[in-house]
Point group: C2
Chain length 267, copies 2
Amino acid sequence: MAGGSTRWQGRSVISKAVALLDAFGPSTPELSLGDLARITGLPVSTTYRLATELVEWGGLERAGSGTGYRIGVRLWELGVLAPRGATLREVALPHMQDLYQATRENVHLAVLDGREALYLDTIAGRGAVPVRSRRGGRLPLHATGVGKVLLAHAPESLLHEILDAGLRRYTAHTVVAPGHLRRALAETRRTGIAYAREEMSLGSQSVASPVTGSDGTVVAALAVVLRSGRGDLRRLGPAVRTAAIAASRSLQERERLAGPLAVRHSR
Amino acid sequence: MAGGSTRWQGRSVISKAVALLDAFGPSTPELSLGDLARITGLPVSTTYRLATELVEWGGLERAGSGTGYRIGVRLWELGVLAPRGATLREVALPHMQDLYQATRENVHLAVLDGREALYLDTIAGRGAVPVRSRRGGRLPLHATGVGKVLLAHAPESLLHEILDAGLRRYTAHTVVAPGHLRRALAETRRTGIAYAREEMSLGSQSVASPVTGSDGTVVAALAVVLRSGRGDLRRLGPAVRTAAIAASRSLQERERLAGPLAVRHSR
């Protein structure tokens, strides 16, 4: 905790408050004051003061059990306003369902957030391979099909950041050589399809394709994830590409009414 | 703007940042820096500094058009973790669909947030009355069916706050006498059903019932909203009550696995 105080010296109040919010996740939906202080490294007194302000606002709630904090409905209410969240998911969902019906495999929709792929929604195939992605979950860009699609169409500066940080190896098949990754991304830009073969998890492979807005910006990636060895992954490429093109058309129609969903990359 | 600076004197940084977030709403999904300064009353320089920090975090995004800010996917990601948001909606949705199928009228799910009813989801009936509530929208407690249900089961202190603030009249039928409201709330507690007859909008009426968690706390209200004059509103009471009881049972099963969804009212 003492080390934590040093870590936070000179940092803004906002950065402390968002660290508190960021402590919550799919596996930590409810946290005690002590948990929050430990995870953020903030002093308990600061943690309490910030949590109290966030509870007053409604961004956090005291859980019914009385011992913990959790994300409040005010954040849910704001979150559904995110055009690249609820709106994009709503536009893409019918096309994800079409793809599921045609393949009976897991179908995923993801967007770029920071240096990761953020999963907006997943349809789980019955008897399909168990997958590590879930709604609101995150996976690395270089080791997943959706990630490669998003990285292939992101500003070059993002690729540099990711290469500088080093490509983490998840399995023996993860692409960790920068040259290999660059070639895969160039191929994805050329064909509109990305493959990932047991690069994130053994036994699981994926094929992904970009969803494009009216200004030509790639705003999301659509993918099918299936068990390794279920035939040739390439045979699913055209199906995923077709669904992604259909989702792009729906998105572009929506954008004519409601404005572009693309995010401006100013970093 | 100068008046705004005075208004904000002595207020915390967190309260300024959340004022920035609160400026966004269903009718204002994208705002320029000038809009944000005007709505919050903060100086442009402060607004810019806070917005930049929120963009770095991901809670705000620069819109694709390059001129505005909007809610970012990081807030969507946190929002879906709200147990009284996404989880409650997921549990209640099948029962809302049953109720829609049985009545073909608008079906609503709402929770208490602050002094208002916050709508988690709505199913719009084909040819049903156009309604003023929408997903993520808010309506007053004393003039809606769901609001009366939530108020009837809230701590007495909330009723006092609402009466102290004065009951706003929306139509000639809005209940504005404290004694009338108290009697309606007592009746709702006794029967498990609340009615609102053209109290929010002329031509529209609703019948609502509580969704109860495993500890007996009312966590949400389920309602049917229909055009006035479509027969006796009371005939729909048992249907709404039945769906609300079924949703309560599903919720209680979910709570046995994931903990209580009730919020602790410490105010």
